[in-house]
């Protein structure tokens, strides 16, 4: 297992400067030579870790002592002491704890170290049987590394799998990957983007976000598929189909390729099982992709079959009033409600009219039914007339 030696003499001056700042060490005069920085670095920062390892020699051989002791205690303190870890290891360890760490730069490193320590604290008393857990961790580290970006080991692992199964991996990828392995923290930001994209090209990492990356991955997958005697059509024709803007074949091969690639990485018997199962899978996959195309008929077919909608810009920010600039916004619930209400107003008159018509009809029916309903009214009328008659009689009688 390789030991990661951080030789301060190989650091650049600004890097040393930032490291000193991160460890709260006063900087020497601006024009002092790099050696001064190196000495200060060794003095303050190495002292910290040397104190942890309780080494006797502190001057020249500190780094070497660190080496030997690092080698011995590599497994355990990696769980306990975050300051020994390199940036990459720190990042992967944090990822193990579910913390998605950002770039580990000089200023952020101490923060992430402290975070890791805090995460390790409750875990440490439980790690009495260290070996068992260490084994688990080392296994998961292997898995984690296969997932993480930018490490050549994982890329070569993946490529080995594919290489063994399919013997199709072009060797140019290996070369490209070895060129571009950097520690993340040492690279200026502009260069950080490039190696990721290049390493991803060979790394079979399907989680890419940039369109350029996705296109190169599909290139790779297309090449895989083209060399396997799966499809009925020839490889060049297939490639032509894939790269043209047909809606049908474009997303379909992606699904199929993903399925078959997955299968290939898992099993060794690649070429024998293929034709029927792949066709079968293709048939299964076909209706799915067609449905997608039906759902979004307007989207242009992309090489990977992945289509992204336009990100809606932030409303009302920095002079971007909503109603004037973005007329084609989807309606908010309030506007939908308003539209629904308005929509109902139009036939409201019709509803009222119908109501009156029905009321009239009912009254006519009611009036037409003489026998059953007439009686109570007749009796009422009779009573009334009797009362009036009696009143009239009484009135007549009085005077």
């Amino acid at each position: 297992m390789p030991v990661f030696v951080e030789d301060p003499a190989q650091f650049s001056k600004p890097r040393l400067k930032s490291e000193l700042i991160a460890h709260n060490v006063t900087l020497p005069a601006v024009e002092s030579k790099k050696q001064v920085y190196v000495e200060l670095y060794l003095k303050h920062i190495v002292q910290k870790s040397a104190a942890d390892f309780s080494s006797d020699e502190e001057d020249d051989d500190v780094v070497e002592v660190q080496d030997s002791q690092d080698f011995e205690e590599e497994k355990d303190p990696k769980m306990l002491d975050p300051s020994v870890l390199t940036d990459d290891e720190l990042k992967t360890t944090l990822l193990k704890y579910g913390v998605e760490a950002g770039p580990i730069v000089a200023t952020t490193r101490s923060i992430y170290e402290r975070k890791l320590q805090r995460l390790l604290k409750p875990a440490q008393p439980w790690q009495n049987g260290g070996t068992g857990d260490a084994d688990q961790y080392s296994d998961s580290e292997g898995d984690e590394e296969s997932v993480s970006q930018g490490s050549p080991e994982t890329v070569s692992l993946m490529e080995e799998n594919l290489h063994v199964d399919m013997r199709m991996v072009p060797h140019s990828w290996n070369n490209k990957n070895t060129e571009y392995h950097y520690h993340q923290c040492f690279m200026p930001l502009s260069r950080m983007v490039l190696p990721q994209s290049v390493s991803l090209r060979g790394g079979c990492d399907v989680d890419s976000s940039l369109s350029s990356k996705s296109f190169s991955i599909t290139q790779m997958v297309e090449e895989f598929e083209s060399r396997i005697p799966l499809s009925s059509s020839g490889p060049e024709i297939k490639r032509g189909n894939n790269r043209s803007s047909n809606q049908g074949p474009c997303p379909r091969p992606y699904w199929q390729e993903a399925a078959t690639v997955d299968k290939y990485t898992m099993t060794n018997r690649s070429l024998f099982i293929t034709p029927k199962t792949s066709l079968f899978k293709r048939q299964i996959k076909e209706p799915v992709t067609d449905v997608l195309m039906e759902m979004f008929p307007e989207t242009e077919p992309t090489p990977t079959g992945i289509a992204a909608t336009r990100r809606r810009p932030i409303k009302g920010a920095a002079g971007r009033p909503v109603q004037f600039k973005y007329p084609d916004l989807p309606a908010s619930p309030m506007t939908l409600q308003r539209w629904a209400v308005e929509h109902r107003l139009v036939p409201l008159w019709v509803q009222i009219l119908v109501f009156f018509i029905v009321a009239c009809l009912l009254y006519l029916i009611y009036a037409a039914m003489e026998d059953s309903l007439a009686n109570p009214f007749v009796t009422l009328l009779d009573n009334l007339s009797m009362e009036t008659e009696t009143e009239g009689l009484s009135l007549q009688a009085e005077p």
Partner: protein
């Protein structure tokens, strides 16, 4: 909404440009001076740190406490200020 200070409102209302680090909510004279000593002399540098920490609250608070000794309230003010600024302008 009334819990944000005047400083916060002023900062969040417009692009920060070349504003000094004192203009951040929660960062007064003393803290501002400490940040400047560390090299964070403008508000955008602190913004840079905020973004490098992926706008994570806990990490940013930690960093603030570590670099200038801000207390919990000051950390919260500064974090809220930067986050709202990012929501509007980033």
């Amino acid at each position: 909404m009334s819990s944000t200070s005047q400083k916060h409102k002023e900062f969040v209302a417009e692009p920060m440009g070349e504003k000094p680090v004192n203009a951040l909510a929660g960062i007064g004279e003393v803290l501002g001076r400490r940040l400047e000593e560390k090299g964070f002399d403008k508000a955008y540098v602190v913004l840079g740190q905020f973004l490098v920490l992926k706008k994570d609250e806990e990490l940013f608070r930690d960093w603030l406490k570590d670099s200038c000794g801000a207390n919990v309230k000051q950390q919260g003010d500064c974090y809220g200020c930067l986050r709202e600024w990012c929501d509007s302008f980033l």
